[in-house]
Subunit: 580 residues, 2 copies
């Protein structure tokens, strides 16, 4: 029956979108496919660096963390140029976008991890890995205190120092409980592989407990009430996975309690998936409604106990409470203590998140870089530099800027201040010279400093910080490795834009994020996707696109084989409900 | 390279044993194959039981445990005849012979487990499962106290009683530490799936710790010393797996410590694998010597601390100590507390192991049956019944037994006392009447009681208890389910042998174990096997036989698919060393 249903599902997809689906399946199997989706990371040109190898001692690069950002850096950095070391409490890289699939056994935990040692072994040059947690960054003395996370008497406290010349902070973020009472003690999170494994066991526990003799129906009902706090992609995907797990597998194994199961999503905003296009939000909400997954929007959780979750309905201000069997907390990220401590050392104590400049250099901390969820780029405002820009552009010091003079610097401006392009896009302007038109839309031959300020006054409004996603982290890691690989080359021939407040050019181009789209699997072999070019796609075909992309994005042939084999196994045999 | 080496290995096997290997691979893939190896369990004839269904209330059968014995019973029992309930702290069945493979990631833990609910769902009739631990058997009142092993406030203490008409005790055994100090605290065991997962993580921990900065070479060496106590099949297979894991995978990832790794097997007897044929023992010892695995025979462990293991060399009486990084204790089985408690209730307090009769009925406990490792069959000695046998056979009460009279009862004797056949085999006698020959080997026409006693006096020497293996447990479970299924039928027409001390026939044939052979994988794609008919097989072809048999013996198509896919994955990509 399972096989039949798999075949019928597959054949349906073929019928609906024959050429399309075939292409997708082909791409999945041949992998690497879908060029449009492979992050076209910058060329890691290593030519012209031979001179470096003559140096007596290589600079020490210390990487903290083996998540998306750290691993992406390690994959591309030329380890023959530097003495590269990595510290992480996990000796593996985890393909985190598949974590929700691990919670219900659609994919096995081991299928989404790849040992760091194996990944770096394939690189040119040697990279040293230490399995330890970074507990303190001493920025002034350029050293880092690490502690082994293995309980072993032999190691005393298991602490050791590592010195560096360049520090790459890729520590990621931690769960943000917003200091809500009881969350840390009574909620599950979904950031690490262990979290997903724990959720999987707990879901089975809820079912096994609910069928035990001697419980009242209310108690059974409470045990089978699964609450997800946070309507972002992770929370929604978990809710969808759980629903599929229940409908597809558990309902047959626990028939006596099948009418007592309930899944609730609590979202503080007005819609779930509100970072997506409105069409996706409403599609998801309608699908969840059909599936019987309750969505409570406009609610803020005020406390969680082992039995109950209390929340406030924002519009009414009332506090209501719900009994629960399991709560998964998935509401955004916070700063790790070790990063917070560094921020205090370097004068960033007042900030929420560690700030870097556009070249990913930590502000106020020499030779330290931060990539991924642990940091945010503090994009320079064009407003603050407007006088320098005007001065640099006004070559003949006439006090006014002609169109030609403006044209000469516009490329540098666009590179240095990416908000300019975003602003042009938002106003549907095709040419940057539109900026210099007057109120009536007429061309101006020249503008003075006040006119120039006015023209660019709204540009900064388009600045926005990057989302805390794997895609951003991976691109940052790849960007940084390219900078390190081309260090000497770019020192001699800078590739960056003009320094408006200073002389010469910046050594490197600033980091620029390229958005390749985002998926939200919604269960029942349906998914939603927001793709570049304002293209929205929902339904079964999108799920096949999701399979293709996620198979092709795997970091090794081993994990690709395992993930595809897990999906096949799930199609044929369903998910396993053994409590291990 | 991996693929090439796999192909070359495979092609080698084909060349050496062309027809043979092809058959094996075919059988593996088409599975279920190798009829000779599938336990040809007794026919579960359920005809003639329709009358039972008219009874107002079905008898309650309570099964404790979901290991080999319990599951084997559940798979075959006709649940339309009984109200069957199962209690086990694990909601799955684990294919334990593959546990050593799980310790090093050759096979994944989830590939060897199958949910009990899924297994019983396929059965006729309904079987109820409770995930709980049996903490007390109240034999007098025919009830059992169970406790949920899920930590949940809702359950209060999570305790409940279950009543039964028939109790099937299939609780298995626990590790036997022989009260050696420090073993429970500092050793790993290898009985449960969780044990195997823990060992896997700990092996990686040992390597990650050993490469950390700041350790002396002695400390690194200590961390990489893996000690296995017990030279039985499990311990030896684990040692072999660990050696393969190190040689095949870890040596490349931890090159700096590759010369510091050591594996030691401590065995109290004079040889490892001493339950096998001597040829297998010496093959294993030689292979381990070549592989650099140290085997210390004739040693008894006296204590284990977190850093050291102390042992006594039996021949010299000296106590020596070795530093260690990880100790796996695998030295036989002991009785679980709940079974020990039952033994005290029913007058078996002085015994080591719970005793049953030849029909697997617990001695001194009505309506209770015990199968698998938790019990042993207390085979009735022929010596104790010799007078009754003589009396029953001497139909004309002449005081002497003629050959014809002996022939009439010999089949019943052979069924009731299986040691008779074993004795005949050991003496290479083809016909049972050889027993009645005189000292010179001449036929005797008749014997008196003294002569009869003398003839059979050595028969009991061949009695031996069954090994604590999966094969025995599975056969016992299948046997018992057949008895339950044919209860009424056999009550009316007993199928068992003559009751020598009583009248009529026994209701059922007593349980008879059929040995299908045993494997000992020795690493490096080599295995040893002891097969029926005194056939010993060692080497690469035996490993292929092992693959075939173990694939065909999987309890479901899902686990079969997973196990074969794991082996393939290992051949192509090696084992994963991520610490999850």
């Amino acid at each position: 029956m399972k096989i039949l249903s798999f075949l019928s599902r597959a054949s349906k997809a073929y019928k609906d979108y024959p050429a399309y689906s075939k292409l997708l399946v082909l791409c999945t199997l041949s992998s690497g496919g879908l060029l449009a989706y492979s992050e076209s990371g910058p060329d890691t040109g290593t030519a012209g660096v031979e001179t470096d190898q003559k140096l007596p001692k290589k600079k020490r690069v210390l990487v903290l963390g083996t998540g998306w950002a750290g691993t992406s850096f390690l994959k591309d950095v030329d380890a023959t140029l530097y003495d590269v070391q990595v510290v992480s409490p996990r000796n593996y890289f985890a393909f985190t976008p598949l974590l929700p699939s691990v919670t219900c056994g659609t994919v096995e935990a081991r299928s989404i991890v790849e040992p760091i040692r194996k990944m770096v072994k394939k690189r040119r040059g040697e990279i040293q890995f230490w399995e330890a947690e970074c507990v303190k960054i001493d920025a002034a003395n350029k050293k880092v205190l690490c502690q082994s996370n293995i309980d072993n008497d032999l190691l005393q406290k298991g602490e050791f120092f590592l010195e560096y010349d360049y520090l790459i902070i890729a520590l990621g973020a931690q769960v943000n409980t917003f200091n809500t009472p009881g969350v840390a003690e009574n909620c599950h999170f979904l950031k690490e592989v262990e979290d997903a494994q724990k959720i999987r066991r707990s879901v089975i526990d809820c079912f096994e407990t609910a069928v035990l003799p001697g419980l009242s129906e209310d108690e059974r009902r409470r045990n089978l009430h699964f609450v997800i706090v946070g309507g972002g992609p992770t929370g929604i995907e978990f809710a969808a996975e759980l629903h599929d797990f229940f409908e597809g597998d558990l309902v047959k194994l626990y028939p006596t309690v099948k009418d007592l199961v309930k899944i609730t999503v609590i979202q503080s905003g007005d819609h779930i998936l509100n970072m997506f296009d409105g069409r996706i939000s409403s599609f998801a909400e309608q699908k969840f409604k059909r599936d019987g997954i309750e969505v409570q929007t406009g609610c803020r959780v005020v406390s969680v106990s082992d039995k109950e979750i209390k929340m406030k309905v924002k519009s009414k201000g009332e506090v209501s409470s719900m009994p629960h069997g399991l709560v998964v907390w998935s509401t955004g990220v916070g700063t790790r203590p070790v990063v917070r401590d560094l921020m205090e050392q370097i004068g960033q104590a007042n900030r929420h998140v560690l700030a870097t400049d556009e070249w990913l250099r930590v502000k106020g901390c020499e030779d330290a870089y931060a990539i991924g969820d642990c940091a945010t780029i503090d994009q320079r405002k064009i407003r603050d530099d407007i006088s320098s820009i005007f001065k640099a552009a006004d070559k003949n010091n006439s006090g006014t800027l002609t169109l030609e003079e403006f044209r000469d610097v516009i490329d540098d401006i666009r590179v240095r201040y990416p908000q300019v392009d975003l602003y042009l896009q938002s106003k549907h302007m095709r040419d940057v010279t539109y900026l210099l038109k007057d109120d009536q839309g007429n061309d101006r031959k020249e503008v003075d400093i006040e006119g120039f300020k006015l023209s660019l006054s709204h540009v900064d409004s388009q600045m926005k910080s990057l989302p805390a996603t794997a895609q951003v982290a991976a691109q940052q890691g790849a960007y940084l490795s390219r900078c390190f690989n081309r260090w000497q080359q770019c020192e001699e021939n800078p590739e960056g834009p003009l320094r408006f407040s200073g002389s010469g050019h910046h050594q490197f181009l600033p980091f620029r994020y390229k958005h390749f789209g985002q998926f939200a699997p919604l269960g029942g072999e349906q998914a939603a996707a927001e793709l570049p070019g304002d293209w929205v796609s929902v339904g079964h075909s999108t799920q096949w696109l999701w399979y293709s992309v996620y198979a092709s994005k795997q970091v090794s042939w081993r994990t690709r084989f395992l993930v595809v084999s897990d999906w096949t196994r799930r199609f044929i045999f369903g998910r396993d409900s053994s409590r291990i």
